[in-house]
Amino acid sequence: MSAGHGKGRHPDLWLGEILDQQLLDRQERPMGMVDGLVLQVRDGRPPKVTHLLVGGVTLARRLSTPIRWLVLWFARRYGRGEPYRIPWSAVRDVGVSITLDLDAHDTPVLYWEDRVGRFVKRLPGA
């Protein structure tokens, strides 16, 4: 588990090695967790993972009712619509974390980090 294995060398991945894993961008900066997966259902062939999903709403759909309602209400009021979809082709390495061939700042996943950051910058001493 501690040694990262590249996609090519280790084609069989277990669901738990992807779902709820830490995502890192090209510069190893944390950019959220894998909150969900998109599967493509194909005729006569096994389903294929096409995208990773990042977003609180996706996580909330997997939670028990009261928490799900709370998060979905919050998302309707303040959210930004759909969760962010990361194509499987952007996955560079699956190890302790999942490293992506992306720059976190080119994606919307840091929306709250940046928004809170703008607020934090106005506090004394920042």
Partner: protein, 406 residues
């Protein structure tokens, strides 16, 4: 040489992490009411903490995962959120109690009532986290924390009888004429004060942040066992001092101020200031660790950027998390809640919430996929689970009795 330095620093840090407002409050009440009869409870809690801290360091060194991140992966989103909420509740109670203790230390020195110190105390904790780097905080507070050794010196000066001390280490009840519900309630609070989940989230996150690998397993074992034992000796010093000074005088420690003679009697005028300094520094150190632990747990569970060495604007959600929990933690003291009652209540409640917070961690420690050959053995599992089960059963029985009894 470098490793020796790391071990020393680690040990000093764990003394700081071990001793907090809960430990001082519960140990001084125990000694004042029941003499040496709770010493075995401190020993048992210490044993459990040594195992848990060693496990959390081993988890970081071998798996490179954070505990919270791994819990979410392994135990599912629902269970992760449930244990996260419980853990945040415990952390909030601890932080509120530490801020209360720090405010009370400032009251002792200044004569101004504790509730007026709540906001300044919160601001100091916040500013240190906001501006300080990890190593500065860890080492600075750790060195200052050495002042708490005053409790051991104070206890030694009172010349406690050796036979009495020894019998305190044998598990037993309140003794003839004692009040069993009170005795067991204090025992629960002691266990809740010693077995602090924030301590090992903090410790483990430090290991991940410093990039520990398997070569740290030896250091980790030494730091966990020696450091926690040292902290435990200080806690026992508080209890023994209280038993020797407060019990014969009939002081029952209904308020924190009443515990001052524990040092003021054996050490004279200096004892008063040493008590205030020990209480203040122990609370400050524990508040810092509990606040960081709260932010670590949230950031690691949701995949945010985290790290005490990062500037707040580079890990904004992490910084906002501890800011919010400090603001909330100030409220109980500001409202004028008695710091001692707040502390005892928080510690007993912590003991009650331990199973859902600790058991999932023990499950992770048995996972071959994270730890391979370094996963838990039978002994570690048995020791931790037995002590947690004991704390839980005692809590379920004694908390209602304590509430009914007044």
């Amino acid at each position: 040489m470098k490793k020796a330095l790391e071990i020393t620093l680690g040990i000093i840090t764990s003394i700081g992490g071990f001793l907090d407002v809960g430990m001082i409050a519960t140990a001084s009440q125990a000694g004042a009411l029941f003499g040496f009869r709770h010493l075995w409870v401190i020993a048992l809690g210490t044993l459990c903490t040594i195992f848990l801290v060693e496990m959390s360091g081993r988890f970081a060194a071998v798996s490179k995962h954070t505990i919270r991140g791994a819990m979410r992966e392994r135990l599912g989103a629902n269970f992760f959120v449930l244990t996260l909420i419980l853990s945040l509740l415990v952390n909030f109670l601890v932080i509120a109690a530490e801020i209360g203790g720090l405010s009370l230390a400032l009251q002792l020195v200044s004569g101004i009532e504790a509730r007026w110190w709540a906001v300044p105390a919160g601001v100091v904790v916040w500013a240190l986290l906001w501006k300080g780097t990890f190593s500065f905080l860890e080492r600075g507070i750790a060195l200052l924390g050495l002042v708490t050794v005053a409790f051991v010196i104070g206890a030694a000066v009172t010349h406690p009888p050796l036979g009495g001390l020894m019998s305190g280490f044998l598990p037993g009840g309140p003794g003839p004429g004692g009040d069993p519900p009170r005795y067991w309630f204090i025992a629960v609070s002691i266990l809740g004060a010693i077995i602090s989940p924030y301590l090992f989230y903090f410790y483990s996150s430090g290991g991940v942040e410093d990039g520990w690998d398997e070569s740290y397993l030896g250091i980790n074992r030494v730091v966990a066992s020696v450091g926690m034992s040292f902290g435990s000796v200080v806690a026992m010093g508080v209890l023994i001092g209280s038993a020797m000074v407060l019990l014969p005088r009939g002081i029952q420690v209904e308020r924190f101020e009443e515990a001052v003679p524990v040092l003021a009697v054996p050490l004279g005028p200096w004892g008063f200031y040493l008590f205030a300094a020990s209480l203040g520094i122990a609370c400050l150190g524990a508040a810092l660790e509990a606040c960081l632990s709260t932010a670590y747990e949230l950031a690691q569970g949701f995949g945010w950027r985290w790290g005490e060495s990062l500037h707040p604007r580079d890990a904004s959600r992490f910084a906002l998390s501890y800011t919010i929990v400090i603001a909330a933690g100030v409220v109980p003291t500001l409202l004028g809640l008695d710091p001692l009652k707040l502390t005892i209540f928080s510690m007993a409640l912590t003991a009650l919430i331990l199973p859902p917070v600790i058991v999932p961690f023990v499950i992770l420690m048995n996972d071959k996929r994270y730890l391979g050959e370094h996963r838990n053995g039978l002994v570690s599992n048995a020791v931790v689970l037995a002590i947690i089960a004991l704390a839980f059963v005692l809590a379920v029985v004694s908390i209602p009795l304590q509430i009914l009894g007044g």
